[in-house]
Each structure stands twice: as C-alpha cells, then as structure tokens.
C-alpha cells in the first residue's frame, strides 16, 4: 500500500468532525425552514437568537452569568452522553440513561433534603441509584435476554413515577408548590462547593466544581476505554460478543458492569445539576426529563468520543438556552429541541456518510493503483 494520496479526509477524526458539522448544519437549516413556515418575517432573527444564545445579553457581566448557567447545565448533559457512549461501546443502546438520570436526581435530592447530608454523600447516593437501575437493565439483558432498549424505556417510566412519589413525601416537597424544597434553604451543605469558580462567571451562584468534575469524568472515560485492559475487554465484547467469550472474557459480567457504570454516570449527572441549586424537581412532572435523551444526541453528535462529547454537549446546551430567546409571541422555545432532535436524526446517517467518504477514497486509491501498476491477476480471497 502506498500512502501517497494522503488527504486530510483520511483521518477518522476529521471524518467524524465533518459529519457532525453536516448534521448540525442540516438541523439548523430544517429548523430555519420551520421558522420560515411559521412566520417568515422574524425567522432569521429567531434562528440567530437561538445561535447567539447568551451573547444576546447586553453586558459582559450578564453574558458571563448566563455562560455560567449554560455550563452548569452542560455538565449533566455531558454525563448523560458519557453514559450513552460508554454503553454503546459494549453494543448496548442505553436509552435508559434518562431513567438513570431521574433515579440519580431522586437519590441526591432525597438524601440531601431529608437527611441533610453533605454534597458528596448526596452525589454518591445518586451514583448508586443510577448504577442500580443500569445494573437492572444489564441483568435483564444477560439473564433474561430482554432488549436493553425496551427495558430501559420501561425503567425510565418506573423511575419517573417512583421519583415523583418519593420526592412528594412530607419534608421533601415544598408544601406551597409542586417543587421540592430548596436545597440552599434546608441544607446548604448539600450544595456542590463553588471553590471560587462562581467569581469567574459574574458571581453566578450555580457555577460550582460540577463543571470541572464532568470534564474530568469525560477524560476518565476516555482513558478507561482506550488505555486500559478493562476498556479493551469492553470494546471486544461490544464488537464481537462471541470472540470475547472465546478468549475467556467474562462477557456477561462485563455487560452488567458496563450498564452499571453507564447508570452511575447518568446518576452522577443528575447530582451535578440538582446539587447546584439551579433548579428543583417538579413532582407533578408527567414525562421523563429530556436530559437523558439529549445525552443520546450529544453522544452521537460527538462521534461517540468522550472528548467530542464535551464540545457537543456544550453546543446542544447552548442552543437549548438560546431557544428561550425567540420571540415567544410568535415562535416557541421548543424550536431548540426540534433542532436537536433533527440533529440526532441526521446523526443516524453519519455511518453512511463516512462510508461514502471511505468508498470515495478507496476508489481513488484503486484508480491510482490501476494506473500505476501493470495489470496482474491478484490472489483474491
């Protein structure tokens, strides 16, 4: 093989990036068309306000403050996407991340509000709750052959109703509203420490070490997947279950372990949001929070790489925040979720797109090879 025709397209990373950018562009374009259909005159204004997000605010201080809020909400999204991509490496589609996230929220808030525990205990509880739910999915898969997608979805709803019940108990729910008590009021020690980070973001209260924690977790996931024996085994199991078994890996144990870790990541994500005090749980909520599902979008948009996920999570959160900027008397904020779901839909085509690039490159190689070499019958197998 000669590698004369080295082209920037040959790098896997470049292909992924290109594909992701195309998905984003496609999503925005269709979103824009939808806006045009609703009301053409303000459409451009609306789409730019979604994209500009917090840059719309007049002062640098406000911009920083809202950047801080965006980052605070990026952290849990990143965690959910890590959960999805980690499971995906072992061949499991963790749609249950949404429920694991809900379970994490339940555990973190309950331990924080009812028992006045310090933040790290709450976070641990969230991690455990998420891991538990993940493990249930994993065990249903390995012992009963239940499709992880189906069990994940059922568990999402079960987690939602259980959480609503648990967090509606006396002393946890605010008697005046459908929301849980404010952590800041009942147990300030349950809040993740800021360690001065908030001063960088216009004193936005919600900015805590949750943000660097999430990034550290992304790096940890990357290291586990790419540098360790455990990662080697997990990926082998995902690519070829039978070969993993053949080589003596404990394939079923690995699947359960993976789902537990995936669950733990999503559960921790919930802790990273609710333990910042940025919002409370609404106990009458009747649909599973979108965070986990958006995690799927982020994982695929980030090319299933933990590092790519950091960027993708920020982007999705950025436009989600931006959705609130549109003129609500004409458009609605859900235009952002429309755009993100369009992006995931387009992500489904990424594999096809990459294949097209590869085929194109191969054809070029072959044409070049055919031109360079005299014809000869090769040994094909």
């Amino acid at each position: 093989m000669k590698k004369k025709h080295s082209s920037i397209l040959r790098f896997e990373g470049v292909q992924t990036l290109l594909a992701s950018l195309l998905c984003i562009l496609g999503g925005l374009l269709i979103g824009f068309i939808v806006l045009l259909i609703i009301e053409p005159s303000g459409a451009w204004e609306a789409i730019t306000s979604v994209l500009e997000s917090y840059f719309r605010y007049p002062s640098a201080k406000l911009q920083l403050k809202y950047l801080g809020q965006t980052l605070t909400r990026t952290a849990p999204l990143l965690m959910c996407s890590l959960s999805v991509l980690f499971a995906y490496k072992v061949g499991m589609f963790n749609i249950g991340a949404a429920g694991q996230y809900v379970a994490g929220a339940c555990a973190a808030l309950y331990v924080g509000i009812a028992f006045h525990m310090p933040w790290w205990v709450c976070m641990l509880a969230a991690i455990l709750a998420g891991a538990l739910l993940g493990a249930v999915s994993g065990m249903l898969k390995t012992f009963c052959n239940v499709n992880v997608v189906i069990s994940g979805i059922m568990l999402n709803w079960i987690a939602l109703y259980v959480t609503n019940m648990v967090l509606s108990t006396e002393g946890v729910k605010n008697p005046m509203s459908p929301y849980t008590m404010q952590l800041r009021g009942v147990n300030p020690g349950g809040l993740i420490p800021q360690m001065g980070l908030n001063t960088l973001f216009g004193n936005e209260k919600s900015v805590t070490i949750a943000i660097p924690l999430a990034i550290i977790m992304a790096i940890v996931v990357w290291v586990i997947l790419n540098k360790t024996k455990f990662g080697y085994e997990l990926k082998a199991t995902g690519y070829n279950y039978h070969a993993a078994k053949y080589s003596g890996m404990k394939e079923n144990q690995n699947i359960i372990m993976t789902m537990m870790i995936a669950g733990a990541l999503a559960g921790m994500g919930a802790a990273l949001l609710y333990l910042t005090g940025i919002e409370e749980w609404e106990t009458t909520i009747s649909s599973v929070p979108a965070m986990g599902f958006n995690g799927i979008a982020v994982a695929f948009l980030g090319g299933l790489s933990p590092i790519g996920s950091i960027l993708a999570a920020y982007f999705i959160q950025h436009i989600t925040m931006g959705g609130g900027n549109v003129d609500l008397s004409v458009y609605c904020a859900q235009i952002s979720s429309l755009i993100s779901s369009l992006i995931i839909f387009l992500c489904a085509f990424v594999a096809f797109f990459k294949l097209a690039i590869k085929n194109h490159l191969r054809k070029r190689d072959e044409a070049a090879a055919a031109a360079a070499l005299p014809k000869k019958g090769g040994d094909n197998a």
């Binding site: 239940v146 069990s151 059922m154 568990l155 709803w157 079960i158 009747s286 429309l338 489904a348 594999a351």
Partner: protein
Amino acid sequence: MILLLQYTLLFASVLLLVALGGCFSERSGVINIGLEGIMVIGALGGALVMKFLPAEMGAPMMITATILASALAGMLYSLLLAVAAINFKADQTITGTAMNMLATAGATVAVKAMNTAASGGSDVSSDIIYTRARDMFIVRFGNFEFNWFMVVALVALLISWVLLYKVKFGLRLRACGEHPQAADSVGINVYKMRYAGVLISGILGGIGGIVYITAGVSSWKFENGVAGFGFLALAVMIFGQWKPFKIALAALLFGFFRALGNVYTGFDFLKNLNLPSGVYNMLPYIISLIVLALTSKSSLAPKAEGIPYDKGSR
C-alpha cells in the same frame, strides 16, 4: 366495573393497533422503535381534522376523515424511518429514538405556532381541543360508552391476519424479515417489501395515536407526547410473539392494567389500599418488564430484523 371494561377495551384497541403496526415493520425486517413518535404525529393529524372539520358533516364522515388523516400522517412520518433504515442503512435504533424526540418537539412547535397565530399571542399552549368531534365516536349503551375505534381495532386485527398469512404479500413480507437473501433470490424486491412493512406500521401507529389521545379526554397537550404507549405496544408485540391473535390477547392484558390506573378509585377495595396514583401509573410498565423477563429467553423475533439489507452481500 363497566368503566373498567370500557377503558380496558379502549386501551387494548390502542395497543393492538400500534403493536400490529410494529409487527408489520418487524416482520419485514425493520425494528420500529419510532412507534411512539408515529403515534404522536398520527394523533396530531387526527386531532387537527377533528378540530377544524365542521361538526355538521355527521358522524360517519367525521370518523372516516379522522382515521384517514391519522393514518396518512403516521404513514408519511414513518417514511423517515423507511428512508433512513432501508435506503441509507442507518442504525434503526438511533433513527427510531430520534423520531420519537422529533415527533414531540415537532408537534409541540406546530401546535404552539398554530395556537399562537390564532390567538394573536395570548394562547401559547400546545393543546388541541376536540370535544364535539370526540362525541361522534361514542355510542352510549347505558353506562357503557361504546367507541367506534374498538371496531376499527378489530377490523385491523382481521385484515392483518389475512395480509400476513392468507395472501402472497404476507408470505413475501415475512420472508424478507427472516431471510432477505432468500427472498431476493426468487425475485422479491426486499426494499419494496420493507417499505411496505414500515408504511403499514405508520398507518396503524398513526391510527393508534388518535385512539389514544381521544380515549379519556377531550383535549390533548402535545408537549406530553403519548407517555410511552408506543413502547408498551412494542412490549405487547414481543409478548404476542409477532402473531396477530396472540398480540390481541396481550393487548387486552396490558390494556386492563393501564385501565386500572384510570378507574381504580371506582373500586372500594383498591381505594382503601390508599396507594398513591403513581403505583397504578407504573403498573403497566412493571408488568411488561416482568412479562418480558419471563418470555424473552427464547426469542421468536424475525431473524433478520434490525439488519439492513444490502444487495451486494449474499
């Protein structure tokens, strides 16, 4: 008691329709996780017709128009899956998941835009109200509200059975889900059959959507989607082993548990248990998990489902 029967039959009708839809798609070889989304879009199509058609046109016309609109909306929406999964060989799970999110977001944006425009900005809800039209679907026998959708579900069941087992279309469709190379080798166009399977699932899923949102209420908030009913239908389909009549029995069972959540306050002994309503809401999901855990060991799923068909690889 009559109320329980009525809701059981209604929810069973929804589950039956949607699960049959899933059955057609999977029998042709395409996993349809996007049924939830198809239901939302079908419901939207039907609800719009019910809201905007004049009530004077009479019940038969209204019923026909509503069902046609839902079926059409669901079918068009299922094209997204068909194109992605069949032509582009996209991952069917991702595609389906995206469709579910897209449907709720899209329906919300659409309804909100409509309400906002109609009210000049004062009504920004995602609700559609269809009280008058809904009444046309209902015939009262004493306390029992008979709903024409129950007949629709029954007819769909019979047609599905005939289509799958009694005509050549079914033989070919099933072959595509089991062994597409074999089907191709005798001149059956696998892509076409899979399109047919997915589009039929769109039609049935769409009708299921309108039945669901009109089952107990006269208005629907589209932000809420269809609360996981599409997924319950998938569980019904698996439990029913991809066979129409078994699916019907499974739908009745699941419909019963779902109906309990609506009417348990009518039973003194249940009311006296003093369980929070969440328990009843969870019931269908818990039951389906247990049922799946007990029945999934030996899968009867079509062998080639989920695997994109590539003419080249034989």
